[in-house]
């Protein structure tokens, strides 16, 4: 039997596959850059370099994405349920972590579902900071507020940046 046609189609499909990966960098490793702006109010949106973090994670997507990419999670207590294997197709943090974690409707949804195991799931703001800061602090990454997102004018007003601190030793108030 001659396999030339099968061989050439394999080569063709292989070439297309390579082009697909190289073209938009999407399959398998996600986008190169993400703009995190869902919570931007007092700070500018975060320009997140996803490609660099993919490199730093050395293929372990579970370091940030828990188990949602299909890999087994890294925390041992999660393995009881999430042994890994199913890529849910849901990767963005905001797809699971709610924007408004403490509003009445989300709290009601927690009460309505007493079987829910993940009832202590942080909202988006808490999830982003707690997931990122641990690794950043341990590995010398940016850990100050303004290192990842500079403050905008509204933020400056909120933090009262216009106040000039009195000189050391000054006692305020009448006492």
């Amino acid at each position: 039997m001659r396999f030339t046609r099968g061989k050439s189609s394999i080569i063709l499909i292989g070439a297309l596959g390579v082009l697909a990966v190289a073209g938009n960098g999407f399959s398998g490793t996600g986008p190169d850059a993400v703009v995190l702006d869902s919570l931007a109010e007092l700070y500018e949106p975060v320009q997140f370099n996803h490609a660099m973090h993919v490199e730093l994670a050395e293929g372990k997507c579970a370091k940030c994405h828990h188990h949602t990419t299909g890999a087994a999670p890294l925390e041992p207590r999660c393995l009881a349920c999430h042994k890994g294997g199913i890529d849910g197709g849901v990767y963005a943090c905001r797809d699971c972590h709610p924007l408004k974690r403490f509003e009445a409707d989300y709290l009601a949804s927690l009460t309505a579902n007493p079987q829910l195991y993940h009832n202590d799931k942080p909202g988006l703001k808490g999830a982003l900071h707690r997931n990122c800061l641990g690794c950043h602090v341990d590995n010398g990454g940016p850990s100050g507020c303004k290192d990842c997102h500079p403050r905008n004018a509204k933020g400056d007003a909120a933090f009262r940046a216009e106040v000039v601190a009195p000189p050391a030793g000054h006692k305020s108030g009448g006492h």
Partner: protein, 315 residues
């Protein structure tokens, strides 16, 4: 009355008095019953393992409550060095909440940051002590006050076991109490979380129904063995508080008073106060009776030195 002398009179008087107190003072059998808060009351669970001391909560509170400008911007972390008479920062008329840093704790990896504000007790001592009824414990859980009713006596500042209420010393004509109201007027009334809770980047504070938060807190302790001290401060202290705390280091190291007990502050005065009306009714009648009893011979007309006559009788 053959043997009516001083000794017998005193014995009789003592016996009558004891009988009166024993029979007419209905002490409640279980005096330690406590209110426990409204059933759907909200609360906040504060987790000190998460706080990084960024002071976003202080900034949010300042904005939400329209407080005056602070002495230093809220991202100035040198406030953690401030000491007044050896004490770290406390709540004031300009700051309804403060964050303090504790360096000498059991945590090896760094300092512990603690947010401090009104705990919104179920049976507040401030409310108990206020004689003009300025304080209200709302069904939503917040302890709020009416600054128009407050007379500025500062009794609640003495009563509060956590030293929370602050005073507007800067006001000459109308100084009143100032404290955290859990953003009741602007948020809690509408089912929204307080500004500090919403602002926290680390989600140090979890807002929800108080009963749910207690369960959540214990679950968090159970799911992270060894991480937390196995105690939720405020779950039972002084009758329970709406703001509760979890920590990885012993609470005493963070300035918490762990010897407060579980009795609400009011129970230290409740029994005494319930007796007062009864005493004010019984004692005048009782002592009038003694007075009349002792002076009945005098009243009968024989009023020439009755003591002398008694002495003559006894000798």
């Amino acid at each position: 009355m053959k043997n009516f002398n001083r000794r017998n009179f005193l014995k009789g008087g003592l016996a009558t008095g004891l009988a009166a107190v024993a029979t007419t003072s209905p002490r409640p059998a279980a005096a330690s019953g406590s209110f426990g808060g409204y059933p759907n009351s909200m609360g906040v669970l504060v987790d000190f393992t998460r706080c990084v001391g960024c002071r976003s909560c202080e900034a949010a509170c300042n904005k939400e409550q329209g407080l005056p400008a602070p002495d230093k911007p809220f991202d100035d972390l040198s406030v953690y060095e401030e000491r007044e008479n050896g004490q770290q920062r406390r709540t004031s008329e300009k700051a309804y909440t403060v964050v303090n840093r504790y360096d000498k704790t059991d945590r090896k990896s760094g300092p512990v940051f603690r947010k401090f504000q009104c705990n919104h007790c179920n049976e507040p001592a401030c409310l108990t002590s206020c004689f003009v009824n300025a304080y209200t414990k709302t069904p939503e859980g917040a302890v709020v006050y009416n600054p128009k009713v407050c007379v500025g006596c500062r009794t609640c500042m003495i009563a509060c076991p956590f030293y929370v209420p602050a005073y507007s010393y800067s006001s000459v004509t109308n100084p009143v109490i100032k404290k955290c109201i859990m953003c009741y007027d602007t948020r809690l009334k509408f089912g929204r979380p307080p500004a500090c809770v919403e602002s926290c980047p680390q989600e140090v504070m979890t807002f929800g129904h108080r009963a749910d938060l207690i369960n959540l807190g214990h679950e968090r302790i159970r799911n992270n063995p060894g991480k937390y001290v196995d105690h939720i401060y405020g779950e039972r202290e002084v009758g329970g508080t709406a703001w509760m705390y979890m920590s990885d280091v012993p609470f005493e190291q963070l300035g918490f008073n762990t010897s407060l007990g579980n009795e609400p502050i009011i129970s230290y005065v409740k029994e005494f106060l319930t007796i007062v009306p009864m005493v004010l009714t019984i004692w005048p009648a009782l002592f009038t009776g003694f007075h009349l009893l002792a002076n009945r011979k005098k009243a009968a007309g024989d009023d020439e030195k009755p003591e002398q006559k008694q002495e003559e009788k006894q000798s």
